[in-house]
């Protein structure tokens, strides 16, 4: 995870020369955004598209902001606000599509997320984690992923999700509890 000082310097660079500094922004935040979006989106390819679109929107927005606004921007929660909006609208589109597909054809012809490139073990771990995280409410899942996969502070998560810090902490705690139960059950199933 990046230190506090580095992003501030990055703000100044972005305000001074957006095109010179933008590649650094991408390098700096790509890992965090990708790690998190991958656990909130249904597949690798969707995650890559969503992260790319997040940066594109960020670039266009920064181009329209004045230097003062760019300097005072909290880059990490700002980027995550864009990313989560995109994740939500992608989920809505997907839900609509699934409904349409379900109405047209009764049985399982819907395309599955493409993890064909991943080897079998990785693919099965992907599926395991997707099943676990799917069991959580959207609020819990988002909070858990942002807190413990992406390593965002609670204050940032609260800002990004628009929920109070206390509620966010509770979301994370309940999410972890539920994951623990699920993982314990998997353990028992194996024995």
């Amino acid at each position: 995870m990046t230190t506090r000082a580095a992003p501030r310097r990055l703000n100044a660079r972005l305000a001074r020369d957006l095109d010179d500094a933008f590649p650094t922004l991408v390098e700096e935040f790509a890992d965090g955004l990708y790690s998190g979006v991958r656990r909130l989106a249904p597949g690798r390819a969707d995650a890559e598209d969503l992260v790319q679109e997040t940066f594109l929107r960020a670039y266009r927005a920064l181009g329209s902001y004045g230097p003062e606004r760019i300097r005072s921007l909290k880059l990490s929660p700002w980027l995550w606000t864009i990313a989560l909006n995109l994740c939500r609208s992608a989920a809505r589109r997907r839900a609509r599509r699934v409904t349409e597909v379900a109405l047209e054809a009764a049985s399982g012809t819907a395309t599955s997320p493409d993890d064909t490139a991943a080897d079998a073990v990785t693919a099965s771990m992907e599926a395991v984690w997707r099943r676990r995280l799917d069991a959580l409410s959207t609020a819990q899942r988002t909070a858990v992923v942002l807190r413990h996969v992406v390593d965002l502070p609670y204050a940032d998560i609260a800002e990004v999700t628009g929920r109070p810090v206390g509620t966010t902490k509770a979301d994370v705690h309940r999410g972890i509890e539920q994951l623990r139960r699920l993982m314990a059950d998997e353990h028992t199933d194996q024995e």
Binding site: D31, Y34, V145, R180, M183, H187
Partner: protein, 256 residues
């Protein structure tokens, strides 16, 4: 299984973004270029491009991205060529003329743009000197700067710095070696053997006894002169005292 075990497992889900994702993103915002491999004169070429047009050209090889970055100062990743650009690019490589091909000049100084635009006016298979370019752009004292601007041409072949020679007409240096420069000129129809023979013999201008015009030796009008009518000159003074005036097409009087 404790809550801490769950948290540790979640921490381990943090991963690196694929390089391809970062490259695609920066290509989409125009911060790095795409490139494609195309057949052209004297071999295949790696051609870099972005929304502003073509941004770089190097001979295709084992490390096209590295070679393009060295030449243009911009990163490039392999990518699909948009249809419209593909058409004008294919045409430019085939004809040796830019036509409607868009060029990304953002990395160039105004002077370099002027020099390279002038070079692009030189017809395929013909040669002009550094001094000629300098005088044509009204900077007669700037031959050396012209040489530097041409040497740093990020878009060789398409912006034909290979058509600019030393003032004696010898082929001179080239970013990809003088053999490549000669091969490009020959692919455009220059008879290099004959030309270099003239250079060796000190011939700088050609005229004909049927007209009162003199040309640079590679000018298309000079190439049409039959051996029988051909007159060779070593200096402008010699041509002019023979009653000749400079050709309107190659404008030899401005040659250094």
């Amino acid at each position: 299984m404790t809550n801490n075990d769950v948290i540790t497992a979640l921490n381990e889900l943090a991963t690196s973004a694929p390089d391809a994702l970062i490259d695609r993103t920066l290509a989409a915002t125009g911060h790095i270029d795409h490139y494609a491999i195309l057949d052209g004169p004297a071999g295949s070429w790696a051609v870099a491009f972005n929304d502003h047009g073509v941004s770089g050209v190097v001979p295709a090889g084992s490390d096209d991205a590295g070679a393009l970055e060295a030449r243009t100062g911009r990163r490039a990743v392999h990518g699909a060529l948009p249809t419209r650009l593909a058409r004008s690019l294919e045409r430019a490589l085939r004809t040796g003329r830019l036509g409607a091909l868009p060029i990304d000049t953002r990395s160039m100084s105004a002077f370099q743009v002027q020099v390279l635009e002038k070079a692009a006016e030189i017809p395929p298979g013909e040669l002009r000197s550094y001094g000629w370019v300098a005088r044509e752009i009204d900077r007669p004292e700037a031959s050396r700067a012209v040489g530097t601007a041409l040497a740093r041409n990020p878009i060789p072949v398409l912006l034909p710095c290979h058509r600019v020679s030393r003032s004696d007409g010898s082929i001179g240096n080239y970013a990809f070696g003088s053999d490549m420069k000669r091969a490009l000129l020959e692919a455009e129809g220059l008879d290099a053997t004959r030309h270099l023979d003239e250079v060796q013999r000190g011939v700088r201008y050609l005229g004909t006894d049927t007209t009162n015009v003199y040309c640079l030796p590679t000018c298309r009008h000079a190439r049409r002169i039959t051996a029988h009518h051909r007159q060779e000159f070593r200096t402008i003074q010699a041509a002019e005292s023979a009653g000749k005036r400079p050709c309107q097409a190659c404008r030899p009087a401005v040659a250094a």
